[in-house]
């Protein structure tokens, strides 16, 4: 038992030494990811690092330190130190700084990279040891550990090549530049001109609430709702007219298409014997028209919730330097790709809704993505094999 805890102690001492070295560097030097080179030099660094780890492994393979470095005694401390840094990341607000930022820019920090490289060494040595006596039961182990090694390498080295810009498209105006998070403009090798911006709304919801605030009914309203009856408690209402885009005119609403328009609904409040009692309007609110709700004599509140965005799509004209021009469609969850850039529909002028004359895109270039996917899918395959092949330890009672 003493020897066992002793080995963990040794592992923790090594891991803490790695962490403290990293933290000391963090206190005085700019974050490591900020001074790492971009492609292809970072790829060279990755290969060099792998070479050093492998050569060192070959050199010490008969020494007991090799066995120690590929054992759980050092894996547990190494993962713990890595976890500790991520806990800091989860508790301390993070910024993307260029100067020394002790624990405030952990993902780019020396300590984080050191902890990651330490993990990588352990992963590779334990993989090498497992591969030596490779068999079917090792498949999951190899896939998992190899996958994580690839993820660490691709994530660590790829940080410097990852670019994310924001691009605001305007109608009738080709845009060939985008801005990074610091607001610096970057020229692109293509231009986009917004043709149309299409915002599709969910149908508005008619909400009927009791005086105590309990929802009695919540019904989706569309053109087909006209003539339908909605029953709530002892009362009911008959829908007469629905106007998706309306403007207020006195006590009534009329059809009106503009960025200020609201959804409006006219209905009759019915009594028990279904005789028409009163015809009233409710309307959702906009920056121009206040919301109009109805409160019945019994204190029941009837309101029309404003329609929520369902999906938004930008159709843009793409111009490339080689003279090619074509139309391109972008929606949320449906990106497009141009010249190595991935384009994502991100936002629009929310105050103007579907009449927005701008569309905001997010541009991402991540050349290490294939490597990252390779790692992720390896891990996924490893997890799935684990799920299929691993039987739990059986106790006699089962």
């Amino acid at each position: 038992m003493g020897a066992l805890t002793g080995k963990y102690k040794k592992g923790f001492i090594i891991a803490m030494a790695v962490l403290i070295t990293g933290l000391l560097l963090d206190a005085f030097l700019p974050p490591l990811a900020r001074i790492l080179p971009v492609f292809p030099s970072n790829l060279m660094l990755v290969l060099l690092l792998l070479l050093v780890i492998i050569l060192a492994g070959v050199f010490i393979r008969r020494h007991r330190i090799y066995h120690f470095l590929s054992s759980g005694y050092v894996a547990v401390p190494a993962i713990s130190v890595f976890t500790l840094l991520i806990i800091f990341m989860g508790v301390i607000p993070q910024q993307n700084t260029e100067h020394a930022a002790f624990l405030n820019n952990i993902k780019a920090s020396w300590s984080f990279y050191f902890a990651g490289i330490f993990l990588l060494v352990i992963l590779l040595y334990s993989l090498a040891r497992r591969m030596k006596k490779f068999n079917r039961r090792n498949v999951s182990f190899v896939l998992n550990h190899f996958g994580i090694a690839v993820i660490l390498l691709a994530g660590g080295a790829g940080q410097t090549d990852h670019k994310q810009y924001s691009m605001t498209l305007k109608q009738g105006e080709p845009v060939w530049y985008a801005f990074d998070e610091k607001g610096i403009m970057h020229e692109l090798d293509f231009a986009l001109e917004m043709q149309t911006f299409n915002l599709e709304y969910h149908n508005p919801l008619l909400k009927i609430t009791s005086p105590e605030g309990k929802t009695l009914s919540l019904v989706e309203i569309s053109k087909t709702s006209e003539g339908k009856k909605i029953v709530y408690k002892q009362s009911s209402l008959l829908i007469e007219k629905f106007i998706p885009e309306a403007s207020k005119l006195g006590d009534k609403y009329v059809e009106f298409h503009s960025m200020a328009s609201v959804a409006a609904l006219c209905f009759h409040l019915l009594k028990d014997n279904d005789t028409v009692r009163k015809s009233v309007w409710v309307g959702s609110g906009s920056h121009m028209f206040p919301e109009k709700t109805i409160q019945t004599e019994g204190g029941i509140i009837i309101r029309l919730n404003p329609p929520m965005p369902k999906q938004y799509t930008t159709i843009a004209r793409l111009y490339k330097k080689d003279g090619i021009a074509k139309n391109l469609s972008l929606s949320v969850n449906d990106p497009a790709e141009i010249n190595g850039w991935k384009l994502y529909q991100q936002s629009y002028d929310e105050s103007k809704g579907k009449y927005s004359d701008i569309s905001i895109l997010s541009l991402v270039k991540d050349p290490w993505l294939p490597a990252m996917y390779f790692g992720i899918f390896m891990l996924l395959a490893g997890v799935l094999t684990l799920f299929i092949t691993d039987k739990p330890k059986k106790s006699q009672h089962e």
Partner: protein, 267 residues
């Protein structure tokens, strides 16, 4: 009938199938031959949910995945399905009851708060990844919660003659729960790439989900060596701690100051 009324009657029908299946799985907790019946009732619950989903699909002429309440129907479909498969694979008897209970909880929420059935999903959540991502996380979280219950039982039970089988049981739960949250993390990353452009953005929810994953990863690597009885209490205490971290990741993130700009906040 209003749309809420239609939904209400479908959910009630489902509950009428889930409830006996759940009760039977509890009654037949002791190993008997008739446990097969429990699996069959569980299968019936899966089938009922499948029918409801297909019916709504045809009725609305669209996949019923547009509102939060509709996605809950998918959870209620997948819970007994994965519960049944997990039972087949690993023979956790209680797991059938557990997944049926979870399925019923989702149905009940739909019944008690009918407005969520029509509450619409924002564009970012409208993705094929939504349901698998959430379902594996729910299953993973429930297995890990069960491991914490087992550890608490070990810690609180008086007397020193506690069987090491209990720690073994906790281990098995952690292994299967960990598999699930690994899948959840991977699905989340693949989805995030499509929706937001980055597979990982160190969003607070992501950071804390990763912390949870790592905390259990440490446990699994520590347990490789096996644990002597003298250390069992510490190990079980660690599992309770890990569960608290998981709870923080699941529900507490919005209270952390570093998490105020999280993209995972949906009303």
């Amino acid at each position: 009938m209003s749309n809420l009324g239609l939904h209400e009657s479908l959910v009630l029908t489902a509950l009428l199938v889930f409830l006996p299946a759940f009760v039977y799985s509890l009654v037949q907790y002791k190993p008997t031959k008739s446990f097969r019946w429990s699996e069959m009732l569980n299968g019936l619950a899966v089938l009922t949910m499948a029918c409801i989903i297909i019916f709504l699909w045809i009725h609305f002429e669209r996949p019923p995945m547009r509102s939060i309440g509709e996605t809950r129907l998918w959870y209620a479909f997948f819970m007994p399905l994965v519960g049944g498969i997990t039972y087949r694979l690993w023979k956790y008897r209680w797991f059938l009851s557990y997944s049926l209970l979870m399925g019923m909880v989702f149905l009940f929420i739909n019944l008690l708060k009918p407005e969520i059935f029509v509450k619409h999903l924002p564009p970012a959540l409208q993705s094929a990844w939504f349901v698998p991502h959430v379902v594996v996380y729910i299953l993973g979280y429930s297995l890990l919660a069960a491991s914490a219950v087992v550890s608490l039982y070990y810690l609180l039970k008086p007397g020193k003659n506690i069987s090491m089988q209990i720690t073994e049981r906790a281990d098995n739960l952690v292994y299967s729960g960990f598999t699930m949250i690994s899948l959840g993390l991977i699905f989340g990353a693949l989805w995030a790439k499509v929706a937001w452009g980055n597979y990982w953005s160190w969003d607070s929810k992501e950071t804390w989900a990763l912390i949870t994953w790592l905390v259990y990863l440490i446990y699994i690597h520590y347990r490789l060596r096996g644990v002597a009885k003298a250390h069992a209490r510490k190990v079980m205490l660690y599992l309770v701690f890990a569960f608290l971290i998981m709870l923080l990741a699941w529900m507490g993130v919005k209270f952390i100051p570093a998490a105020q700009n999280s993209v995972h906040m949906y009303g």
